[in-house]
Subunit: 291 residues, 4 copies
Amino acid sequence: MTTTTSRESEIGRLLIRAEDQPGIVAKVSAVLSDFAVNIVSLDQYSSDPEGGSFFQRTEFHHPELSEQADQLHSALSAVLTDDLQAEWTLFAPIRRKRVAIFASKTDHCLMDLLWRHRRSEIEMEIVMVISNHPDLKDDVEAFGIPFVHVPVDRDNKAAAEQRHLQLLNELVDLVILARYMQILSPDFLAKVGVPVINIHHSFLPAFIGAGPYQKAKDRGVKIIGATAHYVTEDLDEGPIIEQDIVRVSHRDTARDLTRRGANVERQALARAVIWHCEDRVLRHGNTTVVF
Amino acid sequence: MTTTTSRESEIGRLLIRAEDQPGIVAKVSAVLSDFAVNIVSLDQYSSDPEGGSFFQRTEFHHPELSEQADQLHSALSAVLTDDLQAEWTLFAPIRRKRVAIFASKTDHCLMDLLWRHRRSEIEMEIVMVISNHPDLKDDVEAFGIPFVHVPVDRDNKAAAEQRHLQLLNELVDLVILARYMQILSPDFLAKVGVPVINIHHSFLPAFIGAGPYQKAKDRGVKIIGATAHYVTEDLDEGPIIEQDIVRVSHRDTARDLTRRGANVERQALARAVIWHCEDRVLRHGNTTVVF
Amino acid sequence: MTTTTSRESEIGRLLIRAEDQPGIVAKVSAVLSDFAVNIVSLDQYSSDPEGGSFFQRTEFHHPELSEQADQLHSALSAVLTDDLQAEWTLFAPIRRKRVAIFASKTDHCLMDLLWRHRRSEIEMEIVMVISNHPDLKDDVEAFGIPFVHVPVDRDNKAAAEQRHLQLLNELVDLVILARYMQILSPDFLAKVGVPVINIHHSFLPAFIGAGPYQKAKDRGVKIIGATAHYVTEDLDEGPIIEQDIVRVSHRDTARDLTRRGANVERQALARAVIWHCEDRVLRHGNTTVVF
Amino acid sequence: MTTTTSRESEIGRLLIRAEDQPGIVAKVSAVLSDFAVNIVSLDQYSSDPEGGSFFQRTEFHHPELSEQADQLHSALSAVLTDDLQAEWTLFAPIRRKRVAIFASKTDHCLMDLLWRHRRSEIEMEIVMVISNHPDLKDDVEAFGIPFVHVPVDRDNKAAAEQRHLQLLNELVDLVILARYMQILSPDFLAKVGVPVINIHHSFLPAFIGAGPYQKAKDRGVKIIGATAHYVTEDLDEGPIIEQDIVRVSHRDTARDLTRRGANVERQALARAVIWHCEDRVLRHGNTTVVF
């Protein structure tokens, strides 16, 4: 069970996506004002002031939010669904995202998330780590987090994904691929029912696919990068949440790029996960709005 | 005379600073909604959700804004002044800031602003360039901008500032010190009556005062920077608007630092001026909120 | 005629590319030492200590270098050509590269180079600016630099390139494409006989070809970049000299990306040109070694 | 006991600092050539071509380096000490630096070093971790590294430092202060006899002393940083090895700055330690030359 501190229990968030039209901010603010909630933070974006898409993230505070949640939901529904035909989500109060992390043998992204989790830097509960290799079992369990080894090979891929779905079933709000190095099938993505965030070890759309550091070395680039994105059926083509880069030179070997890129990967992934868990990321077609 | 395009004449901006209290966003949005303006962009920040300062910048669109301006001002006044005791400014419609640039012999920051102005990258009109040296007269006049040479030496500083005040009198909304290299007196700052933005060639608060690149070389720093800030009576201590940096190494001489820093100076200054002219910068004590 | 200051007349440079083998540094240093030159700077790189390629750039000082140049060349030839079978170039003394800049209507990269040239930041003489449009004629001529308008359209492209070759004939050491926006034919590249540096307005290999900022907007990247590279027959595939980037967000329109990218383009191009003119860039297959 | 792989046993390094004079590179290269070593990497820097200081780092390979080490040392001594009056150090072969890490309660820098050590990213052996608090004992011992708790308070500081000296005695080549948060006495620094690297959580020389993130918040800077430097008697005034930065905004609280700065601290410290352990850092007065 997810527990929240008394403080988190007083905080709510409202995410809205609608066709742009005059008066959205006013109508929503009026509802929130009627419930005497204090808007702590409001971010708003219109893709085009005349006829585009409207996005809004509002974080607010109310000392007795849980008691008011049902009525607040009804009042917002009257405005947002009936009047504005908006897509919207209300977290009242917010609760930590329940997360499963998929990893392989490479540890830096996984360990970075575990450490940030231990330092309470991310609004998440790590429910389990799933890996196709047993190597990191001890490291993960040292954090008190369950580690599940699900071997994957050419012949059992469908069965392995079936096992993944059983493990995740209803237990998580987010899957993170922390250098998992396996391609998820469209069937898995359709059934998992929660967002999946991947870290790709290149500055997308450069160097799609396997071996990006060697490709970067061969091409002679002077900067390498990493990209955290939502996973879609199209490999390395999903909506980008965050990217970061580091300068390299001719002296760096492909192995150096791998080592130096590791720092960038873990930072880009961590920021993407932090933002996702704070409900700051809204999808907009195949791109993202990050508030 | 400042002319605005028909498009600019339909755009308004509202800046608010108040003690934080529930309902500000809702009350202001309601007024804007009553006037059928469409909120294009809304940014809001509370320094502390419980009892801090509240800042808001709203940009909005109305096809007949000028005709509505007086009534909108009155309606906002009832809410913002009478009810919320807020400080606020309404630009309805927005108009380009009228700017005077002070320069000396160093050209890179001045020329960068002139070029960006010519490319319409900044919402400003450059009314004049004032310099204590005649060197850049031809370069400035090639842009069709008046150049005024006001020599400054130890003995005539007060008279020179008097001349500056006469030149600026009521004509400008902003003064930019583009590597002017002269310290403005408290008296001048009190009388000029408009914000003054300076670019300091170091990463403040490191290397306050003269000769920062030589100081940086002597200290052996691995990164140098530049700082754009509002000028106050305390030298190099005013509210920071923007900073930027560049990596350096032991191979860079103080002259190299000067050359490499020039790129950083002009970029930090340009961003600060762009943001100021778009009314994105609100002061908060000795710091800034940049929306 | 290229003139050098008395100081430049005392400085020489030696560039070497060879198969790696023990003793190269020692043999070359011994020759330089015999001529009593003082090595000011020596950079060396081996792509693989065991059997790779060896690169060396040496900058040195001698008070009467011109008088010694022929004998020094002979002595180096005995070691570098006869003994080591190296490719090598001796500049004794160095002289400023003679440069032609090709531009179109977009001014930011061109003007940046002209300004840096005026400030003596780049070891080059600008012999002429060639453009397919007349728009920038006055701006270029204000710097005292010849401007040649050579219109290019679908039907006269071969003739235009013929005209280019006549203009450049024997007069330049380098061609810079400062957002020229025209593809050079393989025939032109074969005949021009000097290196050609281009600035591409994306972070290659992402967004090859036309319209990279719109492509970046569509893909939703969080960082955009620019790439300065030597031009080869394969469009946007030549050896990369320098890249730089800037962060962007969902709020940036394709037009914003164009404006923000302009800063990055001019800086990446300027650095690439500075390094090339200081003989710091050696080609290594389709990549570069930048000392 | 320090063990080196067979590969490391074939690699040597030579560091030189001398008054600049013609022929240094040639003389040293000649000696190395006589011993048939292959120069893998050579970096050289003159602070001023006419009368400054000369620095050189040479990395070389010889299949039977250990057998040759004594004779090589003698031959270099004849040139470097007798002829050139240089300061110099020969590592033949190189061996991993033996390191003691001092930490307190803050874990991010310490854990980052332990992880990089486990991944073999740094040429070091971690001999022990010393802390004035017991909190991180389990985390350190999980890596198989001894953890020594030496409490420090106002009254026992001298005794604690005495204990430190006993622990370190002859066992280490380097001390790293990984957010140790205690000021070392001049007496300790005089007696410890090895370099001490500290990470300061600001962009020095800005925000010297305690509480830099709060100071940064109060000053309203737009960029924060971290500085890795050698420790001298003057607090936060020692030679800077590496600095790094991250952008912040008015929305970041002092706590956010602390969290975001942690990433920068661990990276700047890691790079400084990597470079020191690869003998890339030479002191030059109160600055560093980093090859």
